[in-house]
């Protein structure tokens, strides 16, 4: 099967600023693909180019079988887009919102009615179909936007930060519906997010974008393995003498170490074996541990590794200098 999206040196410059810099990536048909990066990394610019809103400065992309520069209209007919902003008409009912979109895409009527019914059913809004959208909760609105973008049976669905601003429960619901839609509609989904847990929970493959460049690409598991090959230990200290820190840094089980105030994050080869050694070492240097946890590396750790910063610090535009790549970790 052909790739759903293939970018070829795609680049976008705004004056002196290079928002997207020579990105080459392929999104396979029917996968859920995540574009991850902090605010300002260029994710939205990339999506806007792939959805034919913006013209690339250089390079191009093939989306759903057509070139975004040469035949944008063919692309438009075959993609669905859920933008970051809420673009529903709150004065209209859910049904009317769906109906108008179906008309924009020239979906003829017996099919139109059935399709709307089916899709509203998928996200559990059929009973509220005749309520105005103004009466909907944030989560319900998102769900409606989700299915509104599917009225014309697109091949590729683009979602720009679909859960930003939703509470955890509503986020989980959106994820569930996305998985369901993915299974039932046989569709490729490309999603941007700055929530790494979201990418991890949803995506088959993830691309990490930072300062307009593609810095890493792979399945969440691959990425974690490629970078880490180990476990993460987090320890809180009531006392952490410098000798203790140096000793941990120089020990043979530590791959990487990051310090932030009175807490340490260590990447180690084998967590279960390393924990007692850490405790032992710290005690020997008269340090005091108040808590210690062992966990699997997450995409946060991956992101940190590749970009040198945590994704949650909104410092996307101002680069800091780091002592080690793990410094400045917030956890």
């Amino acid at each position: 099967m052909d790739a759903a999206v293939q970018t070829i040196n795609i680049t976008k410059r705004f004056g002196d600023l290079t928002a997207i810099d020579q990105i080459n990536l392929t999104i396979d048909a029917q996968e859920i693909f995540g574009l991850v990066g902090p605010n300002g990394a260029g994710k939205t610019t990339l999506i806007r180019m792939l959805t034919t809103v913006l013209q690339p400065t250089e390079g191009t992309a093939k989306v759903a079988g057509s070139d975004i520069r040469r035949s944008p209209n063919k692309v438009r007919q075959r993609i669905g887009v859920v933008s970051q902003a809420m673009t529903l008409d709150v004065e209209l009912t859910a049904w009317e919102n769906m109906e108008l979109y179906a008309k924009y895409y020239s979906v003829p009527n017996p099919e139109r009615r059935e399709r709307i019914k089916e899709l509203l059913g998928v996200v559990g809004l059929l009973e509220r179909a005749d309520f105005t959208v103004g009466s909907y909760s944030g989560g319900m609105k998102r769900r409606l936007e989700l299915v509104r973008s599917l009225v014309h049976r697109p091949k590729v669905l683009f979602l720009d930060e679909p859960t930003t601003g939703l509470d955890p429960q509503a986020r989980n619901a959106v994820w569930d519906y996305l998985r369901k839609i993915h299974n039932e509609q046989k569709i490729t989904i490309a999603i941007t997010t700055h929530y790494l847990d979201e990418a991890e929970a949803l995506c088959d493959r993830v691309a990490i974008v930072d300062f307009g460049k593609l810095v890493a690409l792979g399945t969440p598991a691959e990425l974690k393995k490629k970078v880490m090959g180990g476990d993460v230990i987090e320890a809180e200290f009531t006392a952490l003498p410098d000798e203790a820190f140096e000793a941990l840094k120089d020990s043979d089980f530590t791959i990487q170490i990051g310090r932030r105030d009175s807490s340490l994050t260590l990447l180690v080869k084998n967590g279960a074996e390393a924990v007692p050694k850490v405790v032992e070492l710290v005690n020997a240097k008269s340090g005091k541990i108040s808590s210690i946890t062992l966990r699997q590396p997450t995409l946060d750790d991956v992101f940190l590794h590749f970009t040198g910063r945590s994704i949650r610090e909104d410092t996307a535009v101002t680069r800091k200098r780091f002592v080690s790549s793990w410094e400045g970790m917030r956890r």
Partner: protein, 378 residues
């Protein structure tokens, strides 16, 4: 109590930081002062009057000279102008036609034998037919011509040592049209304009801000389809607004337009042209405005200027020159003129052709500008 100070301080700081609010707070009332003051304070001048002369003697010439020499002054005599502009017309029929088409506001009829009668000390009457659909101009004409008749009587007495009197018969050409009816066409046009501020411009601003306009771009809709769709919806909303205003004017304000199918069709067409032109103008402005506030706070003064210089509330003949020149370029002036003809005079297409021509040109230009502006904003 000091809390009140901080609350007050916050509001004042925000007020100072928001120049558009400040400017519009001043511009609106100031424009009202200048425009309304000039419109109502100005006296009516240059009223076109047709003259049908069937008596060519000295007395009738004197009468017309007196009329011609009349001055109307405003602002304590600072600005004066000829009150009337006379046009000689060969027959009453032709005068009547000019009156119907709005080319003149009155027709003076000097009957055969007037000079003879006066020479023989016989009382005479001059007749003036008034376009009373413009009550203010009609009143000015009737007052000026009556004064002229009295002056002529005085002069005749001096010369002839007899005392024949010259009286003025005024004949209303139309049924009695009240001032509220005179104002009604302007209200229809203003209903269109306000609908185009709210229904056209502001909803586009919101759509632009909320990303809905961009949302259109990922659909297969063509750009021209989006522009036409937006303008069409604006026109429908504005027409609805204008027709509702017409209905209210008839039912509540007692406005009595002529019940005539052809006129009604022409009236609908006038409203349509006006709506499309104004909607396009405000849409172009809304999509290109540097900030939503600029649009919101500027559209109010624009409304004032267009409305007050349109002749909607006071005849354009009463404007000072600078305002009369503004009304030459004001599409609302042509709309009001055409609507007044169609509603009260039962005018034919020929009478409103010039208005239609201007409105059509204005609308065509605005549609092009709106299309270009909108496409770039998309």
């Amino acid at each position: 109590m000091r809390g009140a100070l901080w609350v007050c301080e916050r509001d004042i700081r925000k007020f100072i930081r928001q120049p558009f609010v400040m400017v519009s707070a001043l511009v609106g009332p100031f424009l009202m002062l200048i425009l309304l003051g000039s419109a109502f304070g100005g006296s009516i001048t240059h009223v076109p009057i047709a003259v049908v002369r069937e008596s060519e003697g000295q007395f009738s010439s004197t009468y017309l000279d007196i009329v011609r020499d009349q001055q109307n002054c405003a602002f304590g005599g600072v600005s004066c102008g000829d009150a009337f502009r006379l046009k000689d017309v060969p027959s009453l029929d032709q005068a009547e036609q000019m009156l119907r088409q709005g080319q003149v506001k009155a027709a003076i009829y000097i009957p055969r034998g007037l000079d003879n009668s006066l020479s023989n000390s016989i009382n005479v009457a001059i007749t003036v037919y008034l376009d009373n659909t413009d009550p203010l101009s009609a009143a000015a004409v009737s007052a000026g011509l009556t004064r002229a008749a009295q002056q002529l009587s005085t002069q005749v007495r001096v010369i002839s040592a007899h005392d024949p009197t010259v009286t003025l018969d005024t004949a209303n050409f139309y049924r009695n049209v009240f001032y509220i009816e005179f104002m009604a066409p302007g209200s229809l046009v203003q209903a269109i304009f306000i609908a185009s501020i709210i229904g056209g411009g502001i909803s586009i601003l919101f759509d632009k801000q909320r990303g809905i306009l961009e949302g259109y771009l990922v659909t297969p809709l063509k750009q021209y389809e989006i522009v036409i769709g937006v303008l069409l919806a604006g026109v429908i909303k504005a027409m609805f607004s204008a027709l509702t205003m017409l209905f209210l004017a008839i039912v509540v304000a007692g406005v009595r337009p002529m019940a005539d199918a052809t006129n009604f069709v022409l009236l609908l067409f006038t409203l349509f042209l006006t709506a499309l032109g104004l909607i396009s103008m405000m849409t172009a402005f809304a999509v290109r405005a540097p900030a939503p506030e600029v649009y919101q706070f500027t559209s109010f003064p624009i409304n004032l200027v267009l409305y007050f210089t349109s002749g909607a509330i006071y005849p354009i003949d009463g404007f000072p020159d600078w305002m009369r020149q503004m009304s030459v370029l004001n599409p609302e002036a042509y709309a009001v003129h055409a609507l007044r003809l169609l509603m009260y005079k039962g005018a034919s297409f020929g009478a409103v052709a010039i208005d239609f021509a201007f409105l059509a040109a204005f609308t065509a230009i605005m549609v092009v500008i709106a299309t270009l502006a909108f496409k770039r904003a998309l």
